[in-house]
């Protein structure tokens, strides 16, 4: 069992949780993720590692489905059934020169750890964090601290630049040399934003978030098409060359269980306890 050390709400529907998981915390690198199973009947959900401190690891997530809603009820002292990680190949960090690290919405969670490692590798680090409105912006202080420059964008103009991260990125590409870009956010945001760097031929990484089960290359659920080849995001990624990714196929596969997700949420909201199927062994 893995103990929750701290849990707080960061914005509407967005939560952070610190969990004691020494084997993850000690070895985690930028770009990697972990898999959480909240309880004995839970599914395995992949979440990006957002920070580590001693034996603890932080993840930030949006409560959008049954599992994340349940996770949001966990408080300090509660336990989670399982955590495995770090999983995935770490970000390809080296001294590129000037790099831009972009986070969209809850995807901002992944950016401080990348920005920090990029900075330590000697890069000039520019951060861009964007959200629908100012209340949905997270980790502004952390990004402020670790980046050489930080831009903020909101879709509604309530803070920073009125517009999208892609707007700011385009401006930067026009006025100076950018050597590498990371983009983490919803698939559609990564698709749109990464197109901006194509004409400038700038190496651009995106962190893909397909549906996953084991996270170790065993089931093939997370297969994505990159450069016309099938790759497993859990072991070959989750970061890939944005210009080679088939985002449409990714988004289609992300929607595979839309109906089941709705059913699971309804079940969660209408049932206080499990039972009836015989699988639970009367434990719930």
């Amino acid at each position: 069992m893995y103990q929750v050390e701290d849990a707080t709400q960061l914005s509407e529907n967005v939560y952070q949780i610190w969990v004691n998981a020494p084997q993850v915390a000690r070895h985690a690198r930028a770009g990697q993720f972990l898999i959480i199973r909240v309880d004995e009947t839970g599914e395995r959900i992949p979440l990006t590692i957002s920070a580590t401190k001693g034996d603890s690891v932080r993840v930030i997530y949006m409560a959008v489905g049954k599992t994340t809603e349940l996770l949001a009820t966990k408080k300090k002292g509660d336990v989670l059934a399982d955590i495995v990680g770090p999983l995935g190949t770490p970000s390809e960090i080296k001294n590129y020169g000037t790099v831009v690290v972009i986070g969209g919405g809850v995807g901002i969670a992944s950016t401080p750890i990348i920005a920090r490692e990029a900075k330590e590798a000697g890069n000039h680090v520019i951060g861009i964090i964007g959200a629908r409105n100012k209340d949905l912006l997270i980790l502004e202080d952390e990004m402020e601290e670790v980046c050489d420059e930080l831009f903020i964008t909101t879709d509604d103009g309530s803070k920073g630049v009125h517009g999208f991260a892609s707007t700011v990125l385009e401006g930067l590409l026009k006025e100076r040399t950018i050597d590498c870009v990371w983009i983490v956010g919803p698939a559609i945001m990564m698709k749109v934003t990464s197109r901006v760097t194509i004409p400038y031929k700038v190496k651009t990484f995106v962190s893909l978030n397909p549906i996953m089960v084991d996270g170790t290359g065993m089931c093939g659920s997370c297969r994505v098409t990159v450069g016309g080849e099938t790759k497993f995001a859990c072991v070959d990624g989750p970061e890939f060359d944005a210009h080679q990714v088939d985002f449409d196929s990714l988004m289609q596969r992300q929607r595979m269980y839309t109906d089941e997700e709705k059913e699971a949420r309804e079940h969660f909201h209408h049932h206080d306890h499990h039972g009836g199927c015989g699988c639970c062994g009367g434990k719930h």
Binding site: Q23, V24, H27, Q32, R37, T41, G42, E43, R44, K66, T67, A81, D82, I83, V84, G85, P86, L87, V213, D214, T216, G217, M218, C219, G220, S221, R223, T225, T230, V235, S249, Q252, R253, R255, M256, Y257, E260, E261, E263, A264, H267, F268, H274, G275, G276, C277, G278, C279, C280
Partner: protein, 442 residues
């Protein structure tokens, strides 16, 4: 519809005590027992059967466990017909002694009447890391623990057992039995660390710091056909489909949170035991199931009993056909196949199937499961410097399981390529003996 396709309870109910004793009495107690030679882990079969005939089930269990710590599992999933029973002297005249059913009877009897552990040697002070808790890893761990070594098993999933847990369905191998036999291995002093992916949660340098390392990482990498439409929603590898149901209990969704597409019309491609498992699981989830196999029915590599059960449970077999394209907009709507004909015998000694031009036809389907084989998971082995792999990705090992890296051994599917539970166990026993010898010579 046959009764057993509605639920996941065990299909084969096993022997009664009376039948077990009667069956044991058929054994000829051969002076040079060929059955033992046919057993990859070398159980003293005549000795345990003699004990069954005497109704000394506790004694029978002790004989089996001297060579095999997973008897209730082996009694259920071993291909006995091509091993002990195939080698039985009676097989030439009439029916062989039902060694598998007897092994299962003894193991089940012992589990219900209180288990006794085999002897464990004095601690040697040596510490061995075992990667993977499937049949190979559990067997190596049990052997090494009995030799007196301290053993730590690393398992990346949240449950131990490897393919026994995520792959083989409940109706063929109840998970309570897998758990009970894993508890027996743990009772020998073996520590199993779940949720530890070696190479990620445990750095390779740390792994290589053990006195010896045993790699039992299996063959978990699913192969895909590489045909059009493979990324449509509703296309599964058998690994994923079976993992969702066996490990994550997707058959109990939404009581359990992991979903699976049950499908109305499921097409499974492949002809091995994994294909049979996937087809039979899909039947239990309520679908009409067609199994497409490119050779003839008599060429099916699955065990005859699995094929028979699949037939009885209503799985349709479409042999001499092969999928060439998966049809659909965003989700599977059908599977386009071609007819195959058998030509001259190929390198494997089987007739080579060839497409018949212009014979395309489309099967209606909403779920498509690919069960065309697995390769060794490349993740860890690619991280260990100097570890050589053969052409198909499996580890290069000598007859004792030594890899090309000092103090690192491997067995099971990781070394031999996808095979059976018992072959994995047999090779793991050999490697464990070699590790023990090497550690004691130091």
């Amino acid at each position: 519809m046959a009764k057993e396709v509605k639920d996941f309870t065990e299909v084969n109910k096993g022997l009664t005590e009376e039948n077990a004793v009667l069956e044991a009495l058929r054994c000829m107690s051969c002076v040079r027992p060929t059955c033992v030679k046919g057993c990859p882990v070398g159980i003293d079969i005549p000795a345990f059967i003699q004990k069954v005939a005497e109704k000394d089930f506790e004694g029978a269990a002790a004989v089996i466990k001297a060579d095999n710590m997973l008897p209730a599992i082996c009694g259920r999933v071993c291909p006995q017909e091509s091993q002990c029973e195939g080698a039985c002297i009676l097989a030439k005249k009439e029916k062989p002694v039902a060694v598998g059913a007897l092994e299962r009877y003894v193991a089940d009897w012992e589990r219900e009447h209180g288990t006794k552990l085999p002897a464990v040697a004095e601690p040697t002070g040596k510490h061995v890391a075992v990667v993977g808790s499937g049949p190979a890893g559990l067997t190596a761990a049990a052997e090494l623990a009995r030799f007196g070594h301290e053993v730590t098993v690393f398992e990346s999933l949240h449950e131990a057992g490897g393919v026994l847990t995520y792959g083989i369905p409940e109706f063929r191998l109840p998970k309570a039995i897998v758990k009970a036999e894993i508890e027996q291995v743990k009772a020998l002093g073996v520590e199993i660390r779940l949720n530890h992916l070696v190479g990620r949660s445990v750095p390779v340098e740390e792994l290589l710091g053990y006195d010896a390392v045993f790699l039992g990482t299996g063959a978990g990498l699913p192969y895909f056909m590489g045909i059009e439409g493979e990324n449509l929603n509703g296309v599964y590898s058998a690994n994923e489909f079976l993992t969702r149901v066996n490990l994550m209990h997707a058959n109990c969704f939404p009581e359990f949170d992991t979903p699976v597409k049950r499908g109305c019309k499921v097409v499974v491609v492949g002809g091995g035991n994994v294909a049979m498992d996937a087809a039979r699981v899909a039947r239990r989830l309520g679908a009409a199931v067609t199994l497409v196999y490119r050779r003839r029915e008599e060429d099916l590599p699955a065990r005859a009993v699995e094929v028979k059960n699949a037939h009885e449970e209503g799985v349709e077999f479409l042999c001499c056909a092969n999928p060439v394209r998966i049809v659909g907009e965003t989700a599977v709507e059908g599977v386009e196949c071609v007819r195959m004909e058998m030509c001259e015998v190929d390198a494997s000694g089987r007739p080579k199937p060839t497409c018949i031009e212009g014979s395309e036809f489309t099967l209606e389907a909403d779920v498509f499961i690919e069960a065309i084989g697995q390769g060794p998971n490349p993740l860890l082995v690619s991280m260990i410097p100097g570890l050589e792999r053969a052409r198909r990705g499996n580890l290069v090992v000598d007859e004792d399981g030594r890899t090309t890296v000092a103090r690192v051994y491997a067995a099971g599917d990781a070394a031999t390529g996808a095979a059976t539970v018992i072959w994995a166990m047999g090779s793991a026993k050999t490697a464990a003996a070699a590790i023990d010898k090497a550690l004691k010579e130091e």
